[in-house]
Symmetry: C2
Subunit: 421 residues, 2 copies
């Protein structure tokens, strides 16, 4: 059956379409933190942040169904749905981040955010880290592709050394925040010299794709200072840390303690429904709206707004941010009790944790890959991240419980005991 | 109430967010070809192609609701939904257009299509007409923006003179197909000379945004010949003509009679659910998948596939392509009986028609705008298109009936009688 599906995928979707796991899994049903495959095997989902409030949350399903039956059209007609959602969402933001553009994906959101920086500054130069991913449009992929685009990387994009935990910038975790800022300052100088000028820096505030290496409040203060002095914008990609995942706060930038100019939202926003958004200050929005005639047909339609509103309400009403803090702290404590010679670090914020596997400064990517495969065979879905794919990535749906955390850690403990270094 | 919503929009969404009509309308409910505003007024929808099989079609709503309750996750796990849909959709294509990438919007689809042309050719140069719109990402907006992007238009994009009905390329409608091809040939030569090389030409096969000026089968033959000889790809944006709207065929390129290398789909595909797709030959897909590591989190998820599958089934089961041909022909016949000194042309294919208003070669954009406003006041929703917004655009949901067509034309007749030139 699986082989049949793989063959059909190759025929209908073409080559190199990514799947998870050496033997891909056919998932047919989801509920809360659980997924089931076609043979009825149940998996504890410790990886998927899209199903933020839990797979198939009945309140989100109900909201989508109800609105889809009444009206689904674009925002060139007036509708209260987008306004009610905007009001409720923006109430969770500070720093005068008080206006919104609704789109369909995090990629579309980041594509808009880059143009906002260009509209405000009149410059084109953009900066991101050299070990990140911000999305799949042409412009956004320039920040994050691991293969050069046809024609080569465009001159107005610079990729700066990413923070790293095994080989920290500046030689130590303590020196890393300033060393990262120094890299950004050098890239700004290069962009100025090349005539592009500096428009903005895009980053995930917890450096999720870089493996969250040594991130703590204040980490970005020197960088924010460098960007501000150069007149650029800070474009904060909250697709992974946002909507309370970090537990201590609603947004990664609040946890880090800085004020972005633009925030982008994606995956978890509609619990799986294709919806994303760009949140900005009124001056930034006005510059963008003045420079570009942007319209998104599906963006902000009543059904997408109903999905996003239901997701937001569930986060609030079920206390999922508090749950992320509570269960996240509990799980991190348990994970830190795991013992294995290749465990180099265990870290996390809220319901986002990583276990870094390495021997000295040598990342253990293959070992980490085997852990993921064995865990899958034992009913636990995990992922990997980091330059050598050597960091176990755990980012479960937000209703993850203490019992779920115990099951995760007990399984990992058993796996690690059976896997010598 | 309306004023309150407009004020909230300005506060929450910022300036220059487009609405239709001098006094925007608050639509709260839709069913079939009908929309209702907050005061209970009913409108005959003669404009919206997103609700392709009719607003809130119960089979599409049911498919979305049922799948959303069971599973909604990404394509890194195996799932039959995307494969079943791909098989059924691709069965409607010829020319070895047999593989698909599913995305969330027509803009995302076009953004991928441009990179496909670059991957196949190894060149960057792209061509579109100078009076079109293909979507809102940075790369796609370069083809279609009416305002230059920050930093100016990129050198690898050329915009060629669009076909026109009032001032045809080459001096006459008969000369226009060759004259358009000549413009493309000149742009290709410029791209080669500038060192970009030629990757592809993107166009809507019926030139919907250009106002469908004098389009008939064979129109693009000289252009296809020019593109093929230069080794470039034809990227066919079927967002407007596709899924049977042209009545005579499922796709605009079949009506025109040529074989594109890539086809993109958007708005009507999921009847309002955010879903789009890129369809290509296996050699084109392999080149793209080899050059770019593309993944789209929401693209091809089971709920989007269920929405698209239900929409496709309704088109087939309700005979909506045949309906577009039948009612479209009937409506065009009625529209051609309208008499007014400013009517320069009445044309259409299937359920897509335009009335061009002009005095000689002078487009009557203001007059056309007044027709749209008065029609709205009388319960008929219409749009405008063309270089001077002087062409009345009618593109209703596909279950549009002969009775609906009579209501449309009777209302237009009454309006035109009261509006002297």
């Amino acid at each position: 059956m699986t082989n049949d599906l793989i063959a059909r995928r190759a025929r209908l979707l073409g080559p190199n379409v990514p799947t998870f796991y050496e033997e891909p899994v056919q998932i047919v049903r989801g509920e809360g933190v659980w997924l089931w495959d076609a043979e009825g095997r149940r998996y504890l989902d410790c990886y998927n942040n899209v199903a933020h409030v839990g797979h198939c949350h009945p309140k989100v399903v109900e909201a989508i169904s109800a609105q889809a039956a009444v009206l689904n059209t674009h925002t060139r007609y007036l509708h209260e749905g987008i306004l009610d959602y905007a009001e409720r969402l923006l109430g969770h933001f500070g720093h005068d981040l008080s206006q919104i553009i609704m789109v369909c994906t995090g990629s579309e959101a980041n594509d808009v955010a880059l143009r906002m920086a260009q509209a405000v500054t009149g410059k084109t130069g953009l900066i991101a880290t050299d070990n990140t991913y911000h999305g799949n449009t042409t412009a956004v992929a320039h920040l994050s592709t691991r293969r050069p685009p046809i024609g080569g990387y465009p001159g107005h994009v610079r990729r700066v050394p990413a923070p790293d935990s095994l080989v920290p910038l500046g030689g130590s975790l303590a020196a890393q925040p300033q060393a990262f800022a120094d890299g950004v300052a050098r890239a700004i100088a290069e962009l100025e010299e090349a005539g592009h000028g500096f428009a903005g820096l895009m980053l995930c505030p917890i450096f999720a794709n870089e493996g969250t290496p040594g991130i703590a409040p204040g980490f970005l203060d020197p960088t924010v200072d460098v960007v501000r002095r150069a007149g650029g914008l800070i474009l904060c990609d909250e697709v992974q840390p946002g909507f309370g995942r970090v537990g201590s706060h609603w947004w990664g930038h609040e946890f880090l303690g800085f004020a972005p100019d633009v925030v982008t939202l994606g995956k978890p926003m509609g619990n799986g429904h294709p919806v994303g958004a760009v949140v900005a200050r009124p001056d930034v929005m006005a510059a963008f709206r003045g420079a570009f005639g942007y319209f998104n047909t599906f963006g902000g339609n009543p059904v997408s707004c109903a999905a996003a509103m239901a997701t937001l309400r569930v986060i609030e009403e079920e206390g999922l941010v508090e749950n992320a803090r509570d269960v996240g702290g509990y799980a991190l404590g348990l994970l830190r009790q795991l013992r294995h010679p290749l465990i180099a670090d265990v870290r996390g914020f809220g319901l986002f944790f990583g276990i870094e596997f390495a021997q000295g400064a040598q990342p253990a990517g293959d070992f980490c890959g085997r852990v993921v495969e064995v865990a899958k065979a034992r009913g636990i879905l995990l992922g990997r991240v980091g330059r050598a794919q050597h960091i176990l990535k755990m980012r479960p749906p937000m209703p993850f419980s203490r019992g779920n955390a115990e099951q995760l850690v007990e399984t990992l403990d058993a796996i690690l005991r059976e896997m010598p270094a």
